[in-house]
Amino acid sequence: MSDIPIIQIKNLTKIFGDGVEIKALDGVDLYIKRGEFMSIIGPSGSGKSTLLNQIGILDTPTSGTILLNGVDVTKMSDKERSRTRNKELGFIFQYHHLLPDFDALENVMIPLLISGVKSSQARKVARKVLDEVGLGDRMKHRPNQLSGGQNQRVAIARALVNKPSIVIGDEPTGNLDSKSSDSIYELLRKLNREHEQTFILVTHDEQMAAKTDRVIRLVDGKVVEDLRDGASVREI
């Protein structure tokens, strides 16, 4: 079971535009193991976000397949995609996208409420996760009453609350100063160790990427480098 890759990407291509065509992903092959803590780097416009959104089933590929836990997500209906995102995936973006009219605790409860968990139960679980990200004393604060780093921690708690098997982060520290960035990184690292969830982080910060277990470099929609602990994983 655990030796089956949690994510299998085969010959994935994504072309944007109907007039001028842009090949954002060009035949990407990628296997990711359960519990891996990895980063995707590459120049701006190289297709990092596009790849991440494919893994997050937020978008559909032009060709190729993506298997999550052995299931081909490219063949799913809109409803199944929503359900899979809710159960199996946690999202962290550069902007936290917290709901401004809900406090921290309520924001963290949302994925649970969407999946149909009772409000009282959701509150209990969300409280625990908020504690875990170090915001146990800020539960009643709304996003506009919290700092950028604190909001990003709330967003992380929200991404984790449904116990997804995969957490994806698109430049999760892109909006933060380096001190907050480091502490967010440490938090993600700690969570990865404790929960054995797969973390895939897009970043333009090479130093931060170097601290992850595996680094994939994209250029022009192609994987040009795949290093685990500094050693090449495969021939490209």
Partner: protein
């Protein structure tokens, strides 16, 4: 329900705009309720006064005949019908009335006052004298108020009636009536037998008035009498068809007016929702990423339209009720001929008006929410999330 929670928070986060759109809906609903109440008031006053002051059914001679000859038999037949409450046979003729130097062309209406009072309560219109003074077949006459003024006569005076080919006859004035309608200047009541005699027509009548228990079924009854007797029976509905039709077409125009008013308030709701959707693009994208279905996204904004609309409708109903009461309580000096003798505007507060205004408003408000809600639900989550 999570969707409802999101919807209420969106609304609460925009207090001022929310308030404005609720006020817009409330004003629309309130205005329309007042309008409907006044329409209902006018309509029912008009109908009531028609039903009160007119025979529900009038039976007239057969075609090419001037009189109903064997009217006693016809009376019996009609009395035998279920729902007939009263019947008054009359003889109607034209004549000139003269008093000293004044003369007026009039309609003389010969009746049995007790029968007539049961078909149309004439007693209540009497300014002086009693309608029943015409009970015995003497030469007595009751004149309309305007007619009496034009002839410059008072109670107890004598007027002379003239028709071609007959001896003039004197009538003593035993009463003056006022209905507030033009008949006050043209009509005189006399005893039926006396008038038959005056016209030398024998024991015949020119028509019958009938009162039925259900005025709204007068049409059916009139048709039945018509069919069974061959006499020409006409209901008040048929007689007033033109006015009633006019009211109905104007009601159609009023609905057009309602749609315009409600549309304006509906635009208010659509406007605030479009603004919320635009402001919440990132939030919508994130909700989708977290697995919220497109249906739920749509539901959030439809609920917002529903909540705003509902609040507006409730406030509007209260407003409309208050305003209707206020208008009903205002006394205004209007000439009695114009408003059927009323001294205030007719307002009828009817539950059905509140219900139809509310349903009408809710339908338009929800429709106003459909466009923004669809737009939100059709968003591409990737574009939405990265649009910020």
């Amino acid at each position: 329900m999570f969707e409802l929670d999101v919807a209420t928070r969106h609304i609460r986060s925009r207090r001022r705009q929310t308030l404005f759109s609720i006020i817009a809906v409330a004003l629309a609903v309130g205005i329309i309720i007042v309008f409907m109440s006044m329409m209902s008031g006018y309509m029912s006053i008009l109908i009531d006064s028609t039903i009160e002051n007119q025979a529900h059914i009038t039976v007239m001679p057969k075609e090419d005949e001037d009189y109903i000859h064997l009217y006693h038999g016809l009376e019996k037949h009609i009395y035998g019908q279920e729902g007939v409450e009263a019947l008054s046979s009359y003889f109607l003729g034209e004549a000139a009335l003269q008093h000293e130097h004044d003369a007026e062309g009039v309609l003389l209406y010969g009746i049995n006052p007790n029968d007539e009072n049961r078909v149309v309560n004439r007693e209540k219109d009497m300014l002086t004298g009693e309608f029943t003074s015409l009970e015995n077949p003497g030469s007595r006459i009751i004149l309309g108020y305007t007619l009496a003024k034009n002839l410059d006569v008072e109670m107890g005076d004598t007027v002379t009636a003239q028709i071609p080919g007959a001896e003039p006859a004197d009538f003593t004035i035993t009463g003056i009536f006022q209905t507030g309608t033009p008949v006050d200047g043209t009509l005189g009541f006399t005893n039926l037998e006396r008038l038959q005699d005056f016209y030398g027509a024998g024991d015949v009548v020119t028509g019958m008035g009938i009162r039925v228990s259900d005025a709204y079924a007068a049409d059916t009854m009139a048709n039945k009498i018509d069919r069974e007797t061959g006499y020409d029976a006409v209901s008040w509905i048929e007689q007033n068809a033109e006015i009633l039709n006019l009211l109905e077409t104007s009601e159609g125009m009023v609905y057009f007016f309602y749609i315009i008013i409600f549309s304006i308030s509906g635009f208010g709701i659509a406007n605030i929702l479009i603004m919320i959707v635009m402001e919440k693009v990132g939030e919508i994208g994130m909700l989708m990423a977290m697995g919220m279905s497109r249906r739920s996204i749509m539901l959030i904004f439809l609920l917002e339209a529903g909540i705003l609309g509902m609040a507006g409708v409730i406030v509007g109903c209260v407003l409309g009720y208050g305003a209707s009461l206020a208008i009903a309580s205002i006394t205004i000096p209007v000439p009695p001929e114009m408003y059927f003798g009323m001294d205030h505007l007719p307002v009828e507060i009817e539950l059905k008006n509140f219900i139809s205004a509310s349903i009408f408003a809710m339908v338009i408000n929800i429709l106003a929410g459909v466009f923004p809600a669809r737009r939100a639900s059709k968003m591409d989550p990737v574009e939405a999330i990265y649009s910020v």
